[in-house]
């Protein structure tokens, strides 16, 4: 786990690891600490909260906190793909809300077709929810590649469009009961958000699978290397024959699908779908990615870093609730941690380039 941040996967932009002669050990230790800062912060958080509350480090609380982390981690993994290409996706919270309403509507009222109402099984509903997310992501990708809209603007627009669509879906109302019924054959939506397998919530398993697939894709496949190449230097990527537009559309599709999945998990756990589901979650997701060392300029970052970032945010906010800190302070502390993370990121960059220069 500790060396995950050192592994800059095949980005080409990664700084080579020199052995600077006469270099103070101190600087190298500092660099190591800065690289692994997400882990360091996480360990410090755990030490702090468990010393304040004996309930923090219990097995059941760790499982619960991890479950809370899962939603943001899945959103953040999707967003990381986009950020690695140098883009940004502000629409993920709204996409989660839209997917939530689409699946909630299919379970609660069904799909109106001529001559009656169709109900789908839970597996189909989940699949359709994710497809909706992927399609919205595809629209984002097309806006950015075909119409040349800046990613910030395109996805900001989609943030409103998708949220509005979620509200239109039910005319602003809530789908209150998603338990389904035997005659409709759509029971069991609680499985992904409420149930556990081997003592671990299904949502956490899903996060583990999504993270594992994302790690393999980003580090072991040509597609993954192309993502880093596009983010590192888009012009060079074009000249190298990479189909940049196709890569870009793909990352927004991935981001949309991840967002929809997160929305479905949230909805399943709540047992109700409402249009404001996951409002402002995009900011938590981006914060997790940044905290985990993903550079907003693209080309640098890891999935595992993002997941660690999500753990820091989740373990921090749950810890604050656990020890009874007021909502206002929770907000202040979270913001301060994110700013701190970016400052240390820059410190790492400076230190790294200093060390590199000395060897040159």
């Amino acid at each position: 786990m500790t060396d995950t941040h050192v592994a800059a996967p095949a980005s080409g932009a990664a700084t080579p690891q020199p052995d600077p002669p006469g270099n103070p050990v101190l600087a190298r230790t500092a660099l190591l600490l800065l690289r692994g800062r997400t882990l360091v912060v996480l360990v410090l958080l755990v030490i702090f909260f468990s010393s304040v509350s004996s309930e923090y480090l219990t097995q059941s609380n760790i499982i619960l906190m991890t479950k809370h982390v899962a939603i943001n981690a899945i959103l953040a993994i999707g967003v990381t793909f986009v950020i690695l290409t140098g883009g940004i996706d502000l629409s993920v919270g709204s996409i989660a809300g839209l997917a939530s309403m689409v699946s909630g509507g299919l379970l609660f009222t069904g799909l109106g077709v001529p001559g009656g109402t169709l109900f789908f099984s839970v597996a189909v509903v989940i699949l359709l929810g994710i497809v909706v997310g992927a399609l919205v992501g595809a629209v984002n990708g097309l806006l950015i590649t075909r119409f040349g809209v800046a990613p910030f603007i395109a996805t900001l627009g989609m943030l409103y469009v998708a949220r509005g669509a979620a509200q239109l879906h039910s005319d602003g109302g809530t789908y209150p009961d998603l338990a389904g019924s035997p005659e409709r054959g759509n029971q069991g939506f609680g499985f992904i958000g409420v149930d556990s397998l081997l003592g671990i919530p299904v949502a956490v398993w899903i996060m583990v699978v999504v993270a594992a697939v994302a790690i393999v894709v980003t580090t072991k496949t040509p597609f993954g290397r192309q993502i880093y190449a596009v983010g590192g230097n888009e012009r060079a990527a074009v000249l190298a024959g990479i189909r940049v537009n196709r890569i870009k559309i793909a990352v927004y599709v991935i981001s949309g699908a991840c967002a929809a999945l997160a929305g479905l998990l949230l909805t399943s756990e709540l047992g109700a779908a409402y249009p404001d589901t996951a409002t402002t979650y995009e900011l938590n997701a981006i914060a997790a990615a940044v905290l985990g060392g993903t550079a907003l300029s693209g080309g640098r970052g890891t999935i595992i870093g993002t997941v660690m970032g999500a753990f820091v945010i989740g373990f921090l906010s749950d810890g604050l609730v656990l020890i009874g800190v007021s909502t206002f302070w929770q907000s202040v502390v979270k913001g301060a941690v994110i700013i701190f993370a970016v400052i240390t990121e820059q410190a790492q960059q400076r230190l790294q380039s200093n060390l590199t220069k000395r060897t040159a």
Binding site: V161, D276, L322, G324
Partner: protein, 325 residues
């Protein structure tokens, strides 16, 4: 080929998204072409209808206004005073006859209502008060203090007057959040053996209530009850209680249909019903009287009592009204 099909799929999904809204266009029902028709417009502004309470409010006000021959424009401010202010701009520019408002902040709403008054548009407040009199024509609210007293008493009874409990409070900028919390504590603090071990704001939000309750249950496993400032938070808290397979008493506030049906299924134990539809109808009736006669003959501040809903009477509750009350 691949690319072309992707474009087609993308375009189709945009159309599908746009298509969702095709059905309901109650907002365009007034025509600006004829000035007299525009003068009969009633603008209804409430918080987001994803809380059924506000949905009921909107529906009741709209139905009553249309029954009395007005055209309606329904807007939602999502608890954002800026958005609410823009709603007032719309009302003023369309020369509305009256505004029915469930406001977005006791202090932040005053200037917008004053602006409407200066434009000779009377505002009738429902559900939430503002911290100023003489600006709105009427402020019709359910008696939150009385209701919270009822909820607190029922909660104490359910708790057997002893044990640990947690409280979920609403958005701090909303006066009702404070009034309800004070109302609860006015009762609960009189029982020396009732101990509040956690108090968190879940900002009226269901998902936030769920996650915060889960954490509170972790921190205080021996907790016996949770009292919530509204029903959406009670539903979120109850989902957490269920997931933890615990037996914890949950009490809410609003009387929403989802909570009433949960009470009937022995889930949530009690809620306090606010007569949302009745209050909205009263406001429209008074607006109508004011427009016709120039006065309402009623005091500005009016309060309507809340009713406790528990398994005894939950069966007779429908759409924010208890049969026979």
């Amino acid at each position: 080929m691949w690319r072309r099909s992707l474009v087609a799929v993308g375009a189709a999904s945009v159309l599908a998204l746009a298509g969702c809204g095709g059905g309901d266009s109650d907002e365009g029902s007034s025509s600006d072409a004829s000035a007299p028709a525009a003068a009969k417009l009633v603008v209804i502004i409430t918080p987001s209808p994803d809380n059924v309470f506000f949905k009921a409010e909107q529906d009741a006000a709209k139905a009553q206004a249309e029954k009395l021959g007005y055209q309606t424009l329904v807007l939602s401010h999502d608890d954002d005073p800026t958005k609410q202010s823009q709603g007032f701009d719309t009302a003023i520019s369309r020369r509305a006859a009256a505004v029915i408002l469930d406001n977005a902040g006791a202090d932040a709403s005053v200037t917008a209502i004053q602006r409407a008054k200066d434009a000779k548009i009377p505002t009738f407040l429902i559900d939430r008060e503002i911290n100023k009199t003489g600006v709105a024509v009427a402020q019709i609210v359910s008696n939150n203090a009385q209701g919270a007293g009822l909820g607190g008493q029922e909660f104490a009874k359910l708790m057997d007057s002893k044990g640990e409990y947690a409280e979920l409070t609403g958005k701090a900028t909303d006066t009702n959040a404070g009034v309800r919390s004070q109302g609860y504590h006015g009762v609960l603090d009189q029982y020396p053996d009732l101990k509040m071990v956690a108090q968190q704001s879940a900002n009226w939000d269901q998902a936030e209530a769920l996650s915060k309750t889960q954490t509170i249950l972790q921190a205080h496993p021996t907790i016996k009850g949770i009292i919530a400032g509204n029903d959406t938070m009670a539903l979120g808290a109850y989902a957490a209680v269920q997931a933890a397979k615990k037996n914890v008493i949950v009490v809410g506030f609003d009387g929403s249909p989802d909570v009433v049906s949960s009470i009937l299924k022995d889930g949530i134990k009690a809620t306090v019903l606010q007569p949302a539809s009745k209050i909205a109808e009263m406001a429209v009736d008074q607006a109508d009287a004011y427009l016709k006669t120039g006065k309402t003959d009623l005091p500005e501040k009016q309060s309507v009592d809340c009713v406790l809903v528990n398994p005894d009477n939950a069966g007779s509750v429908k759409n924010f009204t208890v049969a026979g009350s």
